[in-house]
Symmetry: C2
Subunit: 191 residues, 2 copies
DNA sequence: CTGAAATTGGAGGTCATCTCCACTTAGCAC
DNA sequence: GTGCTAAGTGGAGATGACCTCCAATTTCAG
């Protein structure tokens, strides 16, 4: 994205200020409620500047969470490299719920990215899906999970977990979903 | 809701016209894209009239799908009355995906209702959740499914299915989610 | 038929999103 | 330092969606 562009000093300063304020606003949960123009004022830049750096609210959200998503993807790769595929999948999915629980805004952000950018899927979202797909594929190849249900179903379940971020008892139910998915993936004796 | 109110003739006429047009617009998938004011014109009523009958877009969507949701809930009760609890649950969940597949708009509507009205949950959504909760509770009581994962997790999975209505290959993945959930719910031999 | 009450409909207020461009500033060449 | 150019800024204002309000209209009981 910003490959051949060594952003000018003031531009970088503004961009960083916006990102810093965005993180702050995410933390008190008001990011998605705040008018985007008001946010620009909060961040101390004009609306034009805000829109040039981040054309949409989702683009900004993605930038804020790019690091977290990258961490998740890295974790997936590390697990896949060091554990049997089935265990890697288990570990990753449970860890993901914990992550979503810690970074409150992340669930809502992912849910938003998954739907609003449905067609031209945002980079972070795509990368995450790839990681899950790889984990599932490895476990299937290893023969430790069933092969008649694709990674898409797992993504859909994760989608549900993200989309339902504001249900009461979210953490418990989210863990329940993961438990069901993992148990369901085990090769069933009855074919 | 409309208990003691025998709506005046013109009022009923308008209300019906709005509902009829709404069904039409749902069928070509443009309901959620169309400006609400434009929809009023399409339906041949003023915006004031539209808003008096249906204060929000979601209220209208709910009215359109009330019948479908009621059918689903009725089906749940019927299944529960005539089949062993476990089979009723299986049949209901698979049937639900088929239903969502047939009534295209329903998935998006449910997804929207589940999130936008999160606090004061819409009637249809609440009724559906109750139906699922009852099915799960019965199966747990019967001893045919595990008791350490609540109905909330199943709802969350359904939420995912609805929220992801526009993924390519939706039907296949949705069936996969149901398969996983059901397989996961079976009492696992390893406790 | 008549009057009161219910209902209509669209003009206009409010608000968030986004664009545009006159001005400012960084960074380079000298 | 000075001057030049292109990159960057920021906020006024266009756009359009949502919703309210009330003068005019319609229904219907008496």
């Amino acid at each position: 994205m910003n490959a051949g562009k060594p952003l000018r000093a003031d531009a970088r300063r503004n961009r960083d200020a916006v990102l810093a304020k965005a993180r702050e606003v995410f933390d008190d949960g008001s990011f998605f409620d705040l008018p985007f123009d008001d946010f620009a004022r909060l961040a101390g830049v004009g609306t034009g500047t805000l829109y040039r750096h981040f054309p949409t609210r989702e683009a900004l959200a993605e930038a804020v969470y790019r690091e977290e998503v990258a961490t998740l993807c890295g974790r997936a790769r590390r697990l896949q490299a060091t554990l049997p595929a089935a265990e890697a999948l288990v570990s990753f999915l449970h860890g993901m719920v914990g992550y979503l629980d810690t970074y409150q805004g992340l669930a809502r952000t992912l849910a938003t990215l998954m739907t609003t950018d449905s067609s031209a899927l945002a980079e972070g979202s795509r990368e995450l899906e790839q990681a899950v797909t790889d984990l599932v594929a490895a476990a299937v190849k290893e023969g430790s999970i069933r092969d008649d249900v694709g990674a898409g179903a797992v993504m859909m379940a994760l989608h549900g977990i993200c989309a339902a971020y504001d249900r009461p008892g979210w953490r418990t139910e989210a863990d329940g979903v993961i438990t069901l998915v993992l148990a369901g993936l085990r090769r069933s004796p009855a074919g």
